[in-house]
């Protein structure tokens, strides 16, 4: 049963992570391939602060602000680039963040990672704390989804869609396209940081290997599979992907083949992503009834 709660918590963390990417990708039309960086910034900031003696809850709050600020700081130069080039710049930033965590040992302890991260609100470490942490995560996830719902259904969300559909038109109608995009990335990074902080305090041990390019692809897949530009799409996508990943553990694979599983999984995700983009770009839950012109 605790195992089941564990998977649920991870799935919920991915719900937040995917929804935060969806704000950028689905609404503002920004292909951010370095989204994992903000997950990592949230995780490391919160972990380091709480290990330094701050209360875990306060650490998480500070971590959110750090993620949002670094999102805005990345967005400002990167958004001077358009389309694909923005994607490449963010991809580079994602790797940069991972390499920073790997090499700046004085701060992050490098590949050894950070063990013993305390849980917030006095939730017990180890397996016994998992059900309570589950309730904690559910509460936060619901709050995040409500905030995102209000944001995306507002004039702000509509303005983001205008930017996504046609930047020229957005400019012609008095929208400050650059500012809208920066705010979308900052808010997306804020919630990615929240997901990262939730992750760090849940698993209580993080290392640079938790924040590789694979995570970006996984979360991208959650958004695209579920349906970008919708509130429920990334939620569904995250649950499908995380449960699929866990089911793989029960496949009767001979132990000495174990080393092939992870690369093959990556290949499958890549292939699914390409096929989805070609065959069903709107995902499982489409934003609209299909346009037939």
């Amino acid at each position: 049963m605790d195992y089941f709660y564990h998977i649920l918590v991870i799935a919920l963390i991915y719900v937040i992570f995917a929804s935060s990417l969806n704000l950028e990708l689905g609404y503002a039309g920004l292909y951010n391939f370095g989204h994992v960086a903000f997950f990592a910034i949230g995780a490391y900031t919160s972990a380091l602060l709480s290990l330094a003696g701050f209360s875990p809850a306060a650490s998480m709050a500070i971590a959110l602000l750090c993620s949002a600020a670094s999102g805005a700081l990345l967005a400002m130069p990167a958004l001077r680039l358009s389309g694909d080039y923005f994607g490449i710049a963010t991809l580079a930033f994602g790797e940069l963040a991972r390499l920073f965590a790997l090499n700046e040992r004085w701060l992050t302890k490098g590949p050894m990672g950070l063990p013993g991260i305390p849980r917030p609100l006095g939730i017990e470490a180890g397996i016994s704390g998992i059900p309570v942490y589950f309730i904690f995560t559910v509460t936060i996830t619901v709050a995040v989804l409500l905030i995102l719902r209000k944001t995306t259904m507002s004039p702000f969300g509509r303005a983001l869609k205008v930017v996504r559909e046609d930047e020229f038109v957005a400019r012609a109608f008095g929208k400050n396209v650059f500012s809208l995009k920066v705010r979308a990335v900052a808010m997306g990074s804020l919630f990615a940081g929240l997901a990262g902080a939730l992750y760090a305090h849940f698993v209580t041990y993080i290392s640079p290997y938790d924040f590789s390019l694979n995570e970006t692809i996984l979360v991208l897949l959650c958004v695209v599979l579920g349906g970008k530009g919708t509130l429920s799409g990334p939620v569904l996508g995250a649950f499908v992907i995380i449960f699929f990943q866990e089911l793989l553990r029960f496949l009767p694979i001979p132990t000495d083949w174990g080393r092939f599983v992870s690369p093959i999984q990556g290949m499958i995700y890549g292939a699914v992503l390409v096929i989805l983009m070609l065959k069903r770009p709107e995902g499982i839950i489409p934003e609209h009834r299909t346009l037939q012109c």
């Binding site: 507002s154 702000f156 038109v169 008095g174 929208k175 346009l291």
Partner: protein, 256 residues
């Protein structure tokens, strides 16, 4: 209202617009005609800030708007349409209109969460206005339809409607009737005329000469980046320079 002084734009070695000056003054509808590649759209792009101006100055009333960002120019009441239709296909007709309203408080994240009342009031006001505009452009029936599903002509009407949402003072229309069927052209002409009744000044690029003669109070003709004629439409079609620009130089039959 709109005054342009000696503007020039070059792309590498090609001078697209060369030292053009013009004034719309108080004239309700001004037409801009000229052969393809004569610099008309480039001029529009410069006025609205989409292209930078190399030399010269642009004024809206007495405020200089040379090289301001497009969204700032738009907020000052100078609105435009594009040569090709650019509706937002995945938003409904009504949403296309509401989205075009300027300075919505709900577009600020802070106000969205801290001043929900003001945001709601704005949204209500904009929705009501959008419904009025829908009537003006005669698309009430299609309010909830995705804009991408409208016919080409209806999309052009929607583009005009979108401009009305922004309380414009001057509007620039880039070939508003291109590619739409004659009956919708009549609708469009009526809508454009209706605008001037409300005190909006219209500056439009158009290739259809009979329409220009019918609709415009004054016409400007461009050729090879320069202004070659300015005056009444019925004079333009008789002007020698204009005819040469469109049809080429007349050959003297006796010499050949």
């Amino acid at each position: 209202m709109l005054t342009i002084e000696n503007v020039t734009k070059s792309f590498g070695g090609l001078t697209a617009v060369c030292g053009v000056s013009l004034q719309l003054g108080e004239i309700p509808i001004t037409g801009l005609v000229g052969p393809n590649g004569s610099g008309k759209s480039t001029l529009f792009h410069m006025i609205t800030g989409f292209y930078s101006v190399d030399k010269g100055r642009v004024f809206l009333e007495d405020r200089e708007i040379t090289n301001l960002k497009p969204h700032l120019i738009s907020r000052m009441g100078l609105l435009r349409t594009f040569q090709h239709t650019r509706v937002l296909p995945f938003l409904s007709t009504l949403e296309n209109l509401i989205a075009a309203a300027p300075l919505q408080r709900g577009e600020s994240l802070v106000k969205l969460f801290l001043r929900p009342g003001a945001v709601r009031r704005d949204e209500k006001k904009n929705t009501e206005k959008a419904r009025e505009v829908l009537e003006t452009i005669r698309l009430q029936r299609l309010a909830e339809e995705l804009a991408g599903r409208l016919s080409y002509g209806q999309q052009r009407l929607l583009e005009l409607g979108r401009i009305l949402m922004a309380d414009p003072r001057v509007i620039l229309l880039d070939e508003p009737t291109a590619g739409i069927n004659p009956s919708l052209v009549r609708d469009l002409v009526q809508v454009i005329r209706g605008l001037t009744g409300g005190g909006i000044q219209v500056f439009l690029i158009e290739h259809n000469m009979p329409l220009v003669m019918e609709l415009c109070d004054r016409v400007l003709v461009m050729d090879a980046g320069g202004l070659i004629f300015e005056g009444f439409p019925h004079e333009a079609v008789k002007d020698k320079a204009v005819i040469e620009a469109y049809l080429g130089k007349a050959r003297d039959a006796s010499k050949s």
